[in-house]
Amino acid sequence: MDYTSINNRVEQWRQRAVGVRRRGRHTWRRLALLLAILGPGLITSNVDNDAGGISTYSLAGAQYGYLLLWSLIPMTIALYVTEEMCARMGVVTGKGLSDLIREEFGFRPTFFVMVTGFFVDLGNVVAEFAGVASAMQVFHVSRYIAVPIAGLIVWVLVLQGTYRQVEKIFLALCSFYLAYLFAAILAKPDWLQAARHTLIPTVEFNTGYLLMLTALIGTTIAPWQFFYLQAGYVEKRLGPRQYPQARADVIAGSVTCMIIVFFIIVATAATLYTSGHRNITDAADAAQALVPLAGKWAGLLFAFGLLNASLFAASILPLSTAHVICEGLGFEAGIDNKFSEAPIFYWLYTALIVIGGGLILIPGAPLWRILVLSQVANGIWLPIVLIFMLKLINRKDLMGDQVNSPTFNVVAWVTVVAVIVLTLLLVFYSIFFPTAATGVGL
């Protein structure tokens, strides 16, 4: 071969390499874009599986075995239907839910929603720190050490980071939920039966069963998540063009959330229910009971999952609550501001952590009553927020042609009414039959 043809060959190869590199970068960029959008939905749904949630799921598995697994499918749908509306409002209007409520319904309703929301979330934060305390008990660490450290970690983590960094940490925490997958495998369940009960509903008509069903749905759909989710999309500056990705994120979130629930129920059903240890009271209890049945690792993984979930929710709840309240009432908010720029935001945030964590440490504090009160506040809050959401999403001047379609409206209203009825039922039970309510891990 002469010099020119070698040269040409080399040039050809070089061009091809450039092409490959360019395509590679292109694919990578698309993947990065998807990952960049994946976030709010995934995080929100996973925070749903918080300390209270995990306790309820463990109890459901321990007391009813695989029987309640079928409820996960309607729950996924309910979660998707409600969250999708927030995602859509977020990308179309570019405004947070509290902004929209303020602009369309005025100051007083907003104030009411915000104040009730504060107490609901405070109750939840208490529950998260209680989760940290009981999970660390499994690892033989005193709550007087565990809770202050957890509070400090959460406080510092958020105050030191920017939104992007914090979100990356949160996304990483999501993967720790896999602990439940391994715990479930170690528990050696009857997969066939689990699958059967997931697809074929079994309904029993006794109080205990119905109450448990109600509790499952009640812990899954919480109003703060709508605010967090919508704010997440707005903060990521997604426009209507990115709506398909946002929706994919919501679907991914709802589905993974339910998969985790599935594994928690399966893990406890295969061990505690089968062996007759049906009288556990919370998730840490379940973790301890798992040790003799499925081995030390299953128990520790279960407790680790609880710790992770509690810490995760404890970092997000105070943050999103402070954010939502400040945004709705028109105060400067967001961790990208300095303390002096957004004092009310930071004070609210700190108060939630200090009060939430502090209550756990007071010996003989009426925790039980706080949790019931928070449940009641939630029962009032959720219907209002859901109805506001449905009104907003059907406003043509806000949403243009992205308002709900008639069919979707029917689905949404049915979901919303069902969720409201179930939540009110829970409130009724927590007030009048507290003992029955303890049985479902409230």
Binding site: R22, R25, T93, G94, K95, D99, R102, E103, G106, F107, R108, F111, R237, G239, P240, R241, L329, G330
Partner: protein, 415 residues
């Protein structure tokens, strides 16, 4: 002159000259075309009957919770919605506005007004909007606690008000914007970086409204300071002609970044609308990978022949159409149009008239090909403490320049 608040007036009762109840005040209208701050009309709601309008010259007394008219009910006109009226409750309360003195977006809690007596009638002039705790407390407690209690509470709270002159309304509808006499001159006077921060706090519709009503230069400067995803979102919604006008005003490297973020169809349409020279420049830049030296560079560069004297060089620069921000370094080329040196403008300034520019060049001469990775760019800037860096093609001819502000932007994005 006493201070009144919109919250105290809205819901108040209106009585006619005979002392008969007419209706409840449900809205206050300002007519910006006439007077920018005067409450021109009061809307009186009458339950199931059609609402009536009281003009400012029909009002003799205004106090919290009550207004008195000097005419009878039959003299009042009927209400027909008018786009040219600014509604205090609907357009101001609870909405976001831009505080042009504090340079941020705030939400209105209440509207403060001052009373002016003119020949037996009372005029209300809007003086401030309340964005702080005082307004919030008033909104919350109005009607629930006695006015005395409310006043006492709000006296204890820190007040945060914005003077009406500094309030910039955000109206998405362009026709209504004209009718309401909303201009964005105050925004155009702001630093583009401040305006960009404000834009990031708004919703897409509001951002669009502002960008489309700014003059092209301000719009271009503001877009240049914004997050790239936002920039492409905004440009995609503009019509291609307007988008082209704005992008033309941007520095070519920023323009290329914006175009690279658009969908291929929109990007094509916009380029079509741009004049040939600018379009070619930007297109040339678009060929390069974003994270390469070519993707960072700007094709606006100033060069002279290496044999020129200082005086000739300065004369030459004066006759060029240069952006001042770009004027940091003068590049020298030899007879083959290859890059022969770079002269800092500061050195050029201090040199005597007849000195050869080649003697002023910085040593060593550093440059890069356009496909070099951005990391190499950062390394060179760091190593030689550069403020500008020339980019050369395969034959050694200068094709662009990277300036230190591009480097800072990239580095910050990697943090």
């Amino acid at each position: 002159m006493s201070m009144l608040h919109a919250t105290e007036l809205l819901g108040g009762e209106a009585y006619d000259a005979q002392g008969n109840f007419v209706g409840k005040v449900t809205e206050l209208f300002i007519e910006p075309a006439d007077q920018p701050n005067r409450v021109a009309r009061y809307l009186l709601g009458r339950g199931k009957y059609l609402p009536l309008l009281a003009r400012h010259d029909q009002v003799t007394f205004v106090a919290p919770g009550v207004i008195k008219l000097k005419v009878e009910e039959k003299d009042l006109e009927h209400y027909h919605p008018n786009e040219a009226w600014l509604a205090v409750r609907k357009d101001l309360l609870d909405q976001q506005i831009i505080d042009t003195s504090g340079r941020k977006v705030v939400r209105v809690n209440d509207v403060d007004m001052a009373e002016q007596r003119i020949n037996g009638t009372v005029e209300l002039r809007v003086t401030d909007v309340d964005v702080g705790l005082t307004g919030a407390a008033r909104r919350l407690l109005q009607g629930l606690a006695s006015p005395g209690v409310i006043r006492r509470i709000q006296d204890k709270l820190p007040a945060r008000v914005i003077r009406w002159e500094f309030v910039n309304l955000i109206e998405p509808d362009p026709l209504r914007r004209v009718k309401l006499r909303i201009t964005h001159q105050k925004l155009e006077k702001m630093h583009p970086a401040d305006l960009a921060d404000i834009m990031e706090d708004l919703s897409p519709v509001e951002r669009h409204a502002i960008i489309s009503s700014l003059d092209e230069q301000s719009a271009a400067d503001t877009l240049g300071e914004m997050d790239s995803r936002l920039t492409s979102q905004i440009v995609e919604k503009l019509d291609p002609e307007r988008a082209a006008d704005i992008i033309e005003e941007m520095e070519p490297d920023k323009a290329a970044d914006v175009l690279a973020g658009l969908s291929p169809q929109v990007s094509h349409d916009v380029l079509e609308e741009m004049p040939g020279k600018e379009a070619r420049e930007v297109q040339a830049l678009l060929r390069y990978e974003e994270s390469s030296a070519g993707g960072m560079m700007n094709s606006d560069l100033i060069f002279v022949g290496e044999t020129a004297t200082r005086a000739e060089a300065v004369e030459w620069i004066r006759n060029q159409d240069v952006k001042l921000e770009q004027l940091d370094t003068l590049f020298l080329i030899n007879g083959d149009a290859q890059l022969a040196g770079a002269v800092a403008i500061a050195r050029l300034m201090l040199a005597p008239e007849d000195q050869q520019v080649i003697e002023l060049k910085s040593e060593p001469l550093v440059s890069l090909p356009p496909d070099a990775d951005e990391k190499e760019v950062f390394e060179l800037f760091d190593k030689y403490n550069l403020r500008t860096l020339g980019v050369i093609d395969g034959e050694g001819r200068p094709i662009g320049v990277i300036t230190v502000d591009d480097v800072v932007t990239r580095l910050r994005a990697r943090l």
